[in-house]
């Protein structure tokens, strides 16, 4: 129990994971997840998300530090922990020649308190695909089969490693709805993702991993509020930056100029925007391409992971 009276379902303390070759994938991270919370581990590829989740799942012992899931060591006390957790790996792991129903039946034989096969498949919308061989499923259907297996035993804690990678927009929405429904039912969910939107949509709290360390953590609001909001526009012809009201008085903490394009950063968005717009009205000019944007997780992510890696993540998102 923590001081709020919420039970901590997952507790991670000074966790490190060093691979055989000496590569330090996880470099000392600490966080906890309360019962019924959705917690997102966010980061670019190679940030240490999967390496961390594998330790929580009890697939390997930590190199240093401590992991507790439901109050137990998931590696040493696996008999206590495993029947109460559900795991969705980043990639399937089903025999290609098995049918969907046979796959679920096999997993049910290895899962305490497993639900009936048909019901499990209905939940993820695979009811009509029960007799189809796994090799004939689309990538999205495979993700949903994986989710069905993770949910089969009605787990108290659910680990989802990149649950919507490879899904189309609709499939992603459906998975999100399912995760929210599970959370409302009291399930604790830890998910990894490199989709900023997914973390923003789902997570009660999140941590941004970068190079094996937690670079920022808290509720999405807490993480974003540390970041400045942004106002961008084009200077009217004949005007220069110096013609604007004193930026400091508008609450602007930083600015960039690129040709006629101006970008202002501020922690007081309303004050800065009002000052700017009143000035424009009084001067009788139009601020073209005006864009007023509150701080977002994306800004936070950009700030932490560096522009290059965040752009790569966004490209993937567009491409997916």
């Amino acid at each position: 129990m923590n001081r709020d009276g919420h039970e901590h379902v997952i507790e991670v303390t000074d966790l490190k994971r060093v691979y055989g070759g000496g590569f330090e994938a996880v470099r000392g991270i600490t966080f906890s997840v309360a019962r019924g919370e959705v917690f997102a581990l966010l980061g670019t590829n190679g940030a240490g998300k999967t390496s961390t989740v594998e330790l929580l799942e009890g697939l390997a012992p930590p190199s240093e530090g401590r992991v507790r899931v439901l109050g137990h060591d998931p590696y040493e006390e696996r008999d206590t922990v495993r029947p109460r957790t559900g795991v969705m790996l980043q990639e399937g792991g089903f025999p290609a020649e098995l049918t969907v129903a046979e796959t679920v039946r096999m997993w049910a034989g290895c899962t305490s308190g497993a639900r009936p096969v048909g019901e499990a498949l209905e939940t993820v919308g695979l009811g009509k695909r029960a007799g189809v061989r796994v090799k004939q499923l689309s990538g999205g259907e495979r993700r949903r089969l994986d989710l069905a297996l993770a949910l089969l035993g009605g787990p108290e804690v659910l680990f989802l490693d990149e649950p919507t990678t490879g899904l189309d927009a609709e499939g992603r929405r459906e998975t999100w709805d399912l995760v929210r429904a599970l959370r409302d039912g009291g399930t604790t969910v830890l998910l990894t993702t490199h989709y900023l939107e997914e973390a923003e949509e789902l997570a009660d709290r999140l941590a941004i991993l970068h190079e094996g360390r937690i670079a920022a953590g808290g509720t999405p609001d807490e993480v974003t509020s540390a970041q400045p909001s942004r106002i961008s526009f084009e200077l009217p012809d004949g005007y220069f930056l110096g013609d604007l009201p004193a930026l400091g008085e508008l609450g602007v903490v930083g600015h960039e100029v690129d040709g006629r394009a101006v970008r202002l950063r501020t922690h007081e968005l309303q004050r800065a925007a009002t000052g700017l717009l009143v000035w424009a009205r009084d001067a009788g000019v139009e601020l073209r391409r005006l864009d007023v944007r509150p701080a977002s997780l994306e800004e936070a992510f950009l700030g932490i992971a560096g522009r290059a890696s965040a752009l790569a993540a966004r490209k993937e998102e567009v491409g997916a």
Partner: protein, 256 residues
Amino acid sequence: MSTTTVAGRMGALARTELILLGRSRATIVAAVIVPLFLPFSVRSAVDEADLKEAGLSVGTLLLPAAVGFSLLFAVYAALTTAYVTRREELVLKRLRTGELRDREILIGAALPATGIGFTQSVLLAAGCMALLDLGAPSAPHLVLLGLLLGLVMCGALAAVTAAFTRTAESAQVTGLPLMFLSMLGSGITVPLEMLPDRLASFCELLPLTPVITLVRGGWTGDLSGYDALGAVATALAWTVIAVFAVRRWFRWEPRR
């Protein structure tokens, strides 16, 4: 809430492997058909006069050979391929996230192949007795002990081989050394009795030799208690080494 048991979990896995085995034509041919016919190739390779000199009959030549082929093809080779395929499909990794323990995964997946090996050996023994007027075994407990040791050892050796095999295709190559060595040196195609003494005493140390020795000696009754004990010790030693090697080197995920 219904809790799973060790037997229930391994049973579910074994059932799945049996389904998959039935769906792979290549495995059916290699594991089920080949071992039933290979023994007859041995028959034509050995001269009857030499047999008598070594104190053997056609029956006591063919039966151990048949058991040996069954262990090599139905158990060792088939299981190596199965382990590698499941690992490359990430099935082993997924299984490890659930309630199955590591050894349950390896043993459960091995049950269909070892079951086939056992059934095949029994059928072949019955066939040899019916067709080659081979008498009943003099020491059936030694025959059974040899067969069981052979099944466990071949399962463990398959897991070791899988640890050093990258793809299902290459499993057909990585298994060859043990298969050739066993066929030639473990008394399967050529009984040890017919080899030069010094070569024979080296061949006694090969993994499958004690298994064949126990089956053949158990049938003829020519095996002394001391020799039987030695064979069991050799078989156990190989099994222990193989199990140790699996614990040390078995890979649960594909190499990246």
